[in-house]
């Protein structure tokens, strides 16, 4: 496997793989197949691929209708147009009747890069998380992206999976890796602070852990790929050991993983929780790597938040 792969690329590959083994899988896209990588499926299974044109709301509801007739639709467009534009179609056409549709949204977050604020969706996970019964997944690398797709097809119900545009390092290619919806993965043990992360921030959290270790701070890292249902037990039991939590995500700090973890900690074992992410602002244009620095969506940013969390520890 390549050193780095975008989760959207892994998604496209997984779909093509899935097409072979499950004849009910159909894919819908809204004129972005080249970008979302559903084109890989399209090339292999053109008769099961439906371009809906630039008409996302119809696409989402069409998928709902298909699913009532036994199809397993994967619906793809950018996160902004899936979770954003078509929020209400997802809620009412798919969520309310709890239909077996997989919404696979790409180009999420700041790392979209040059397209800028209109296309950088930092709100999708917050929106999707509020829909009753919706499973919400944000995979951390290509390996996890594939596993999430495979798990989603085995699960009977609505699933939202977020994929990114930027190539990410592979961090889950170890023997013991196992993906289970709703089961967080402890990436590293620690005693002073718990770093909870998902998506591209998991690799950054592991990097931050190394920096902190040099300063004598012991951080655990938990990959919470599934924001809903949240693995409260894994998070809370680690917080009981460390007594402080930092949550890092490529998303507005309002409403997504940071909020979910803060809610779980507040209700179960109150200790300081510090959120790290996009600080309630819109994005900007620029190369993804520069924007990541600009918004400190990196190990450095996490280390700073860890210091804050430690200062709040009683």
């Amino acid at each position: 496997m390549a050193d780095k792969i975008a989760t959207r690329e892994a998604y496209g590959n997984a779909l093509a793989e899935l097409g072979e083994i499950n004849q009910d899988v159909v894919v819908l896209d809204a004129d972005l197949a080249e970008a979302t990588k559903t084109c890989i499926f399209k090339k292999k299974f053109p008769e099961r691929f439906f371009d809906c044109g630039i008409a996302e709301n119809n696409m989402v509801s069409v998928a709902a209708g298909l699913s009532t007739c036994g199809k397993i639709p994967f619906v793809s467009t950018f996160a902004m147009f899936a979770a954003g534009r078509s929020f209400e179609q997802i809620r009412n056409s798919i969520g309310y009747p709890h239909l077996n549709v997989k919404i696979c949204a790409t180009h999420a977050g700041i790392s979209v890069g040059e397209d800028g604020a209109t296309h950088q969706c930092n709100e999708d996970i917050a929106l999707m998380r509020t829909i009753p019964g919706m499973v919400v997944i944000n995979p951390s690398d290509g390996v996890e992206a594939r596993e999430a797709v495979m798990a989603a097809v085995k699960y009977n119900g609505p699933v939202y999976i977020r994929f990114g545009r930027l190539a990410l390092p592979i961090i889950n290619d170890n023997e013991g890796y196992k993906f289970e919806i709703g089961k967080a993965i402890k990436m590293a043990e620690g005693t002073d602070v718990t770093i909870v992360a998902n998506g591209m921030m998991v690799a950054e959290a592991l990097e931050a852990r190394k920096i902190l270790a040099e300063e004598g701070i012991s951080a655990s890292v938990i990959n919470v790929h599934t924001v809903k249902p949240l693995d409260v037990q894994t998070i809370v039991s680690d917080a009981k050991i460390t007594g402080a939590v930092v949550v890092s995500e490529e998303h507005n700090v309002i409403g997504a993983l940071g909020s979910a973890v803060a809610e779980a900690i507040a209700e179960n074992y109150p200790v300081p929780v510090v959120r790290h992410g996009v600080n309630d602002v819109f994005g900007k244009s620029g190369p993804a790597k520069e924007l990541i620095e600009y918004y400190e969506l990196n190990a450095k940013g996490i280390v700073e938040k860890v210091k804050v969390a430690l200062s709040l520890k009683k």
Partner: protein, 281 residues
């Protein structure tokens, strides 16, 4: 009037009685658009659709999506008459904890093919069902009832584009063209008509009918089946509130329940009409 038309007229009157019963007991709901589409529902459920209350999820059944979901008193009434659930349920429509929700809920209610009511979405879902029929090599047909006010939603036109593009000739769109919406005449609020030229331009087969004439409704369904390679839209010219004198062509009866006096009058009118049709009830 043919014997079949007479039977359908009786059925439609029973549907209307159920609508008034449901909305009166709920003290809320949408009688106007339910009454305007009652004759269409009678033709669908008492003639056209191959649906069976004892096998409501049969994968070969015809599908019906009430995209204008607020008109569900009509759908619930016809489903009750067909035996999908007890008629008594109509009396607890919209009550807390009751079966019959304010808009159709496919999870709970036997015979409801799609949860709908947020306007514009149900018709897209119907397109998905029709597409699935093609993919699964099934012979069933999919019908969707859309309101004329509802057709102001952009999503409806996205779906119209989609259905023509994918040549969904197993799909039949019925527009309940009663000409009224909450804020007044459709032509005054936001004129979306004429439908015929628009739909033809989108590549559809279009049939315009009197939506209260059973022969015309059934004949349109038959014609739609013979058209291959494109979907058919039936523009049904109807009267909002049809069958209850004081509700007819009144926007104010879009979403309002009758009081006791009005309920008694509506039931008396409909019952008298039904009795005038003669024969066994």
């Amino acid at each position: 009037m043919s014997e079949k038309s007479l039977l359908l007229q009786k059925a439609a009157t029973d549907i209307r009685l159920g609508i008034i019963e449901a909305v009166y007991n709920a003290k809320s709901g949408h009688p106007g658009g339910a009454l305007s589409s009652a004759d269409i529902l009678a033709c669908l459920y008492f003639s056209e659709l191959n649906v069976d209350p004892n096998n409501a999820k049969d994968e070969n059944r015809d599908r019906f999506v009430l995209s204008k979901g607020h008109s569900c008193p009509g759908l619930y009434s016809v489903l009750a008459l067909k035996g999908f659930f007890p008629y008594e349920e109509l009396k607890s429509f919209r009550h807390t904890g009751a079966l019959l929700q304010g808009h159709p809920d496919m999870k709970a209610i036997n015979g409801v093919d799609m949860s709908a009511g947020s306007l514009g979405q149900g018709f897209s879902c119907a397109c998905g069902m029709a597409l699935a029929g093609k993919l699964n090599n099934k012979d069933y047909r999919t019908y969707a009832l859309v309101g004329d006010g509802e057709s102001q939603e952009g999503q409806v036109w996205e779906a119209i584009m989609f259905a023509a593009h994918y040549k969904l000739d197993n799909l039949c769109l019925i527009i309940d063209n009663n000409g009224l919406q909450i804020d007044g005449r459709v032509s005054d609020v936001m004129n979306v008509m004429p439908y015929e030229s628009k739909l033809e331009a989108f590549g559809w087969n279009v049939i315009t009918i009197d939506g209260h004439n059973y022969d015309e409704i059934l004949s349109a369904f038959d014609k739609a089946k013979t058209v291959k390679g494109k979907p058919t839209a039936i523009i049904a010219k109807t009267i909002k509130g049809k069958g209850v004198s004081f509700m007819e062509d009144q926007a104010s009866w879009h979403g309002k329940a009758p009081n006791e006096e009005q309920y008694n009058q509506a039931m008396a009118e409909l019952t008298a009409f039904k009795n005038s049709l003669g024969g066994n009830n």
